[in-house]
Amino acid sequence: MAPLDTGRLAEIAGGDAGFARELVDLFMEDAAAHLATLTAAIGDGQAERVREVAHTLKGSASNVGAEPMRGLAYALEQQGRAGELRESAPLLVALHEELERVRAVAEESGR
């Protein structure tokens, strides 16, 4: 599955390439911040905080059409809800990797 559904992105941006770019930039910036928060929250065992931030990240990812990130964030949200963070670190790593893939796609389509 594509890291970023550029079709979906173009659609929600109403065909405005500049706005699509702005949305992806916003997403990447926020996602990076969310991942930093998640790293700290997982380290501190704050399950509720993990659930909350993963939920927000999931929403952002689905907005821009970053489906793999949405799926991972959803899994992390479930772990947070269950208060079960032992398997969270691998999800976090995967999220970081996916974010880099999104960045690559965005830069490629931006040129």
Binding site: L23, L26, D30, G59
Partner: protein, 312 residues
Amino acid sequence: MKILVADDDRLSRRLLEHTLSQWGHEVVACGDGEEAWLTCRQGTARLVISDWQMPGMDGLELTRRLRALGGTYTYVILLTGEEGREEFLTAMEAGIDDYLTKPVDLDELRARLAVGKRVLDLQEELRCALAVSEKLATTDALTGLLNRRTILERGDEAFAQALRQGYPLSVIMADIDYFKQVNDRHGHLVGDRVLAAVAGALHGGLRRYDCLGRYGGEEFLAILPGCAAVEVAAVAERMRAAVAGREVEVDGGSIRVTTSLGAVASGPDDLPHIINLIQLADDALYRAKAAGRNRVECHGAYPPSQTVNVEP
């Protein structure tokens, strides 16, 4: 349409803001429930699109507060994740009108906004219609003054408030002199014009916060909150002079009419009811008529009335 967007997620907020603006709406974007609530209280947004989950005040709490606020109806569309049936019912109970699941499908958003607009426009229509019928129900059609029922209601309210807050209240009753002769001589159409002209003149003699109503055929009742005995005679005299100085155009010329006025002021502990004051004003009016018309009589030991020469 003015729309408020409340979403803690910057991306989602920006997307909605941009899209709604593109569609021609005026958008106010807020980053949390608290800010949205403060903005809503200023009361300009007709429709609110709010995320459910926000730190601090969430979308449900925002909706509950909006509903408790009353006043003009605000249409609320809630943005939800994949909440279940229970949550959905809670949201409906909180008072949302509609919801959209995230990620928002923009075509669906547009369609649901159209529904919201229809409801809000309907509300606006009803509000206008209600304002018109309220106006009709409280106004005397001929003179544009308050009608009898409404001036009595206002009098009741003003009396109770004056009593509660310990300030004086005055009542003036005015009656057009020889009005029957105007009707007999010039016809009812002219009589109607005289009534309207007198109403305007009497109103012009009052202070801004006084109320004037048509009490009977050619009889008018004024309620003057905060007006004490020492002032009421002067106000009544101003009203008398305003009418006497006014010419009413009729075919081939103009006529003048005069009024007789009875005035009374309530002391701090005088009377049980506005009706008693009205009765006293009416008595004073009767004395003004008996003493020759076109004059003011005041009730009680208050300044003696002005004596004015009467035109035959």
